[in-house]
Amino acid sequence: MKIRLEKLTKKYPSRDRKSREEVTAVSNFDYEVPDGKLIGLLGPSGCGKSTALNMICGLEKPTTGRIWFDDDDVTDLPPEKRGVGMVFQSYALYPHLTVRQNIMFPLENFKGKDKLSKEEMMAKADEAARLVQIDQLMDRKPGEMSGGQQQRVAIARALVKRPRVLLLDEPLSNLDARLRLQTREEIRRIQRETGITTIFVTHDQEEAMSISDYIVVMNVGEINQIGKPQEVYDSPVNLFVAKFLGTPPINVFDGEIKNNALFVGNDRILENTGLGDQKVTVGIRPEGFLPDPEGSLVCELSSIEVMGRDTSVVASHPACQASSLRAIIGSDSREGLKTGEVRFKIKPDKVHIFDSEQVRIS
């Protein structure tokens, strides 16, 4: 099922009692979620991701705008009439109920002609539990399980009534690093197996990039960019998106276009930019640096960190906005590198140029 979000805006009355100003948590959210895909809703803390998700779910009513599930306008429907399953960051498993009772909880709410027999509920709960591979633990209480297992129970509970949409709000934040990696693969697998349209909220760009079909990057309540993860990474629309995606983060320099060439400080790093003379901000991805004695970017190398396959080079440059820049180079180009002056050749497709409004122009 596809979801159409039409100019969704949510304003909250200010939490501060004295001020009458409203807080705009989400503004003009416009997006059509394609059917059966996994969407990563990505942005820094407080940018309005949860608010957007809660509006899709029905826990919050949009101040303006409409929500369509296929051809149904669900804007004014309560959550249970929309057919959504939701997984919360803290799992929200009922601690006094067993895993089975937790998973069956949504089914027991069915009334009238939808009402299920005890056997049907058991069967559905078992099926959902098998899908997330916790069918061995049905009689435990949540408190007797690990975080990862609790997360699976929460997913099973969200899936058991076969929702049309699965919504996950930072589902992995409470897990440790290893479990997080494992569980996100699991979510990907479950999504593929069920083919259910899924929206996955996270502030961790790596998480979003690794499992999403499409990512939606938000900043202060607004959508900045939508696209396949690699596309967004390769051509960010603005400096914020460029900085937000990628680990290590993109290196940002003050630069200038003069006579069609790009200067960073005094170093002329790119020719034929096709841009008029102006001050610009330059972003260079860590993998865009090639150590080369003939290279045009002159830096001061301060340390070399070998991280398995790759080598991370920490250096500084007078025009760099941060005190140091970080480059990732293949192990073969490591030979001969030492602290002191180092020259890099820059890969043109790893360079992004932003105008004074921080919008990317090249």
């Binding site: 006094h96 909880f105 709410n109």
Partner: protein
């Protein structure tokens, strides 16, 4: 090691002394008194040991009346006050405007002097040469005839007693339950709402289990408190509770010690031990029931 435990005992000494003098010694004393037959407080002599004191107390119509009164009071006020406190707390936690104001109003009786509360009840229920009390005025309004709540029929006196007791214990229970309700993580309600859970089911399946430890605490202390009822009865019916037929077990114990017909520490002790056994039994039953129904996180 030896030295260390010596030091520990030394630190405990003040508490042990205090507890010994004011708790353990009287407790042992009560047990001894209760089996001393024919004790004379003037000469401090007795005939011998036996269970006569118990059989006397258990056959004393005043004691039987006190038991009946106390049990009625317990059975009526403990569940009723807990349920009422729960309903009021639920209402309080669901409103937004004036929440603090209402919380304060409901808590006021708790910080109000018992005698002032007694006065209010006088105005409400007591017949005087000038008026029949406000409740009777209301009854008149609807065409009924006056009832003497203080010196009239048993059921009327019991009614006043129960209302008074509930009124006195309610504020504390409301205070405990509102904070218990506030401590339930709202994410559970969100999750339940997404699944379309009805408010009644949310209450039964989520709220109630989550605040069950607090409810259990209130029920246990409520039972114990109600079994020890005495001063509230005096505030309404005066000191001669046997005459008005509204005595309680603790009232009976007091009367046996210091009342007009008092001076019988042996009977008082026997009654006190009987009360102890009753409270112990009820508390054990409560604990057994709670094992199945109270959820600690």
């Amino acid at each position: 090691m030896e030295k260390k435990s010596m030091k520990g005992w030394l630190y405990l000494l003040p508490a042990i002394l205090f507890l010994g003098v004011f708790m353990v010694y009287p407790l042992v004393d009560v047990c001894i008194y209760s089996i001393e037959e024919g004790y004379n407080s003037a000469s401090q002599t007795f005939y011998g040991y036996g269970k006569y004191n118990f059989s006397y107390v258990l056959r004393d119509p005043y004691f039987l009346q006190a038991i009946k009164n106390t049990f009625l009071l317990v059975i009526i006020t403990v569940p009723l006050s807990t349920i009422m406190a729960l309903l009021i707390s639920l209402a309080l936690s669901s409103i937004k405007k004036f929440k603090e104001l209402f919380q304060t109003i409901y808590f006021l009786p708790y910080v109000t002097n018992t005698l002032a509360v007694g006065l209010v009840f006088m105005i409400l229920f007591k017949k005087t040469p000038y008026s029949d009390g406000m409740i009777n005025a209301l009854i008149h309004l609807f065409g009924g005839s006056s009832i003497d709540f203080i010196e009239g029929p048993y059921w009327a006196k019991m009614l006043v007693m129960c209302i008074y007791t509930i009124w006195v214990v309610l504020p504390f229970k409301i205070l405990i339950l509102t904070s218990a309700l506030a401590s339930v993580n709202p994410v559970y309600y969100k999750a339940a709402k997404v699944d379309g859970t009805s408010s009644f089911r949310i209450f039964r399946k989520i709220t109630l289990p989550m605040i069950s430890p607090m409810i259990f605490y209130l029920v246990i202390t409520g039972f114990i408190g109600a079994f020890k009822a005495y001063s509230d009865e005096v505030a309404i019916f005066g000191t001669d509770l046997n005459a008005s037929g509204m005595n309680t077990i603790v009232g009976y114990i007091y009367d046996m010690l210091y009342g007009d017909s008092g001076g019988y520490p042996s009977y008082a002790s026997a009654a006190a031990l009987i009360l102890f056994v009753i409270v112990l039994t009820i508390t054990c039953i409560n604990l057994l029931i709670s094992n199945r129904n109270v959820h600690y996180s």
